[in-house]
Structures are given as structure tokens and as C-alpha cells.
């Protein structure tokens, strides 16, 4: 049952959340009297921001499972595939890192020779070649 301020009873149990998520919300931006400048982030800017955060938060991690389950990596997985594939490949080319899972998810392909699965550099080269063949690089 929504309360008078629009929150459900369940949400009222956590008053700190109410304050945190209760910013000034005018009914309509047009009638609010405010002019809003929205600085929209490009796909590249968003990707770079997530990559830097991911590198910072997972730099010391050794387990690939922990690296690819980081929230910033998850956000990269949800980005538009056609837009983000060239960016991932360029990143892989410049700074070798754990991008193979993201490449498989976005490309829905796996160009890796089964013999080279355990060799980081061979896998990296295979993806870079794949990127060139498909005009992403």
C-alpha cells in the first residue's frame, strides 16, 4: 500500500533509502523553471570510464572469475555489441587483459583454436585477427 509520500510500506522500513533516493523531482521539467543541461556520455566515453574503474577495482585480482564478475565488466557486457566490439578490441590490442569473455559474448563467436585455449597471447592474437577480418580493427 503506497503511503502519502508515494513510498510503499516496505520502503518506509528503510528511511535512509528514502532520503538517499528522494531528490528534488518536479512534475515536469518544462514547468519546473529550471534549464537542464544534459551532458550525454558517448559510447566511447562510457566504455573508457567503465574500463578504468574495472582496471582499478580488479588490478590485484588473479582469479578470472572474480575479474569478469566485477559490476563494471557486467555493464560493458550489456552495452551495444556493434558499438563496443571495436573498443574492446582496441583495448585488448593496447593493454592485454581479460577481454576474451566479453568478446565471445558480444560477437557470439569463438575464433580460438582449441589447442591455444590456455595460451593468453595466442588467444589474444586470434581475437585481434578476428577483429581485422571483420573490420572492427
Amino acid at each position: 500500500m503506497p503511503s502519502k509520500n508515494g513510498y510503499t510500506d516496505a520502503e518506509d522500513v528503510y528511511p535512509h533509502e528514502k532520503y538517499e533516493y528522494e531528490p528534488f523531482r518536479p512534475k515536469s521539467w518544462e514547468t519546473s523553471g529550471y534549464v537542464v543541461f544534459v551532458n550525454e556520455e558517448t559510447v566511447e566515453e562510457k566504455f573508457n570510464r567503465l574500463v578504468e574503474r574495472w582496471r582499478n577495482e580488479t588490478g590485484g585480482m588473479s582469479s578470472p572469475m572474480l575479474k569478469i564478475s566485477n559490476p563494471n565488466y557486467s555493464k560493458i557486457l550489456k552495452m551495444d555489441s556493434q558499438a563496443v566490439l571495436p573498443l574492446i578490441l582496441q583495448e585488448l590490442k593496447n593493454r592485454p587483459d581479460d577481454w576474451f569473455f566479453a568478446l565471445r559474448v558480444h560477437s557470439e563467436e569463438n575464433p580460438i583454436d582449441p589447442q591455444s585455449v590456455g595460451d593468453f597471447e595466442l588467444v589474444r592474437q586470434a581475437w585481434l585477427e578476428w577483429g581485422k577480418r571483420n573490420h572492427y580493427l
Partner: protein, 169 residues
């Protein structure tokens, strides 16, 4: 020049992130041992491999010598079956043994380190450098705590060299 905590890592990394990941790390209990290198990781480093990344579980780009899952038990089994390591009680320095420790956080393996001859440990920190450190220095944060210690008797190289010198004069 005094070593700063951030000097232990290849940037960019914020000091707050270092403090969060390694709350016990300081320049008093750790020192730099190599340059950063993205082509190997801690599991490869403990078996003296510096051109591959090792981790069980079949992750792309990661090698593991046998079919194994991403668990501490399977890492331990691999070291026991393939390399002759045996479980031991703790990480105390024993003169005739080399030791390896597996860290675990919430039941998930996170890091491996090997002991060096001064009783400290050396390990590759993710994509950053190798550092020499105490066990406490890297525990308590992202890596969790030491869960398994393994040891292997050192080859008696001194005796071999002694007899060889006798034979060769």
C-alpha cells in the same frame, strides 16, 4: 627516497583502492620484486612460469595442466598430484621445505604465493608487480585469508654438489 604504498603498484590505482583491497599492506611488510607484467599471474608464478596465466575452470586464455574446477580443493589436488606438494599445518618457515599458500575469500580461491628463503612470501599481484610480503600484508581484504598450505622438500643440492666436487676433484 622513501617508498610510498602506491609505488608497489603500476598505476593508475587510487590509494583508497589499495587500502580497500589490502587493508594490512604497508611498506614495512612488503617490497617490490619486479616490474608489472600482464602475461602471467600468481598461480603461474608459484610454478615459475612467467609467460602464461594459470587458473582452473577453463577460462579463455588461462592454462591449467589438468581438468579442474575453480575451487581451492582442485588447485590443491593439482599441486599434490602433479608436483608432489603435500598439505602442511601452517606457513612457518622450515629450512628444508619450500611452501605455497592458497588464499580463499568466501570459499573462492583468490590468490597463491610461494615462500622465499628469508621466510617471507613472494607473489604476483594480479596484473601488477611481484611483491615480497608477509602473509598478513595481503590478507584481510580481497584475497581473504590463507586457507591451504602446501610444502615440498627441497632437493638436497648441497650434498649433490659436495659429491660431485669429490668425484671431479
Amino acid at each position: 627516497m622513501t617508498l610510498q604504498l602506491s609505488d608497489l603498484f603500476d598505476g593508475p590505482i587510487s590509494l583508497s583502492q589499495i587500502k580497500k583491497d589490502y587493508p594490512n599492506l604497508s611498506t614495512a611488510n612488503a617490497e617490490l620484486a619486479s616490474k608489472p607484467d600482464p602475461y602471467y599471474n600468481c598461480a603461474a608464478f608459484v610454478v615459475n612460469v612467467t609467460n602464461k596465466k594459470w587458473w582452473p575452470g577453463g577460462f579463455d586464455g588461462y592454462y591449467w595442466p589438468i581438468n579442474a574446477s575453480n575451487t581451492t580443493a582442485d588447485i590443491k589436488r593439482t599441486f599434490e598430484e602433479l608436483y608432489g606438494w603435500k598439505s602442511c599445518a601452517n606457513g612457518n618457515f622450515e629450512r628444508r621445505y619450500e611452501k605455497v599458500v592458497i588464499f580463499e575469500n568466501n570459499g573462492v580461491p583468490t590468490h597463491l604465493a610461494k615462500q622465499i628463503r628469508d621466510g617471507r612470501w613472494v607473489s604476483k599481484i594480479g596484473r601488477w608487480d611481484d611483491i615480497k610480503h608477509t602473509l598478513e600484508a595481503v590478507g584481510g581484504g580481497d584475497y581473504g585469508q590463507p586457507a591451504v598450505f602446501l610444502r615440498k622438500r627441497l632437493k638436497r643440492r648441497g650434498i649433490f654438489l659436495f659429491f660431485r666436487s669429490l668425484l671431479l676433484g
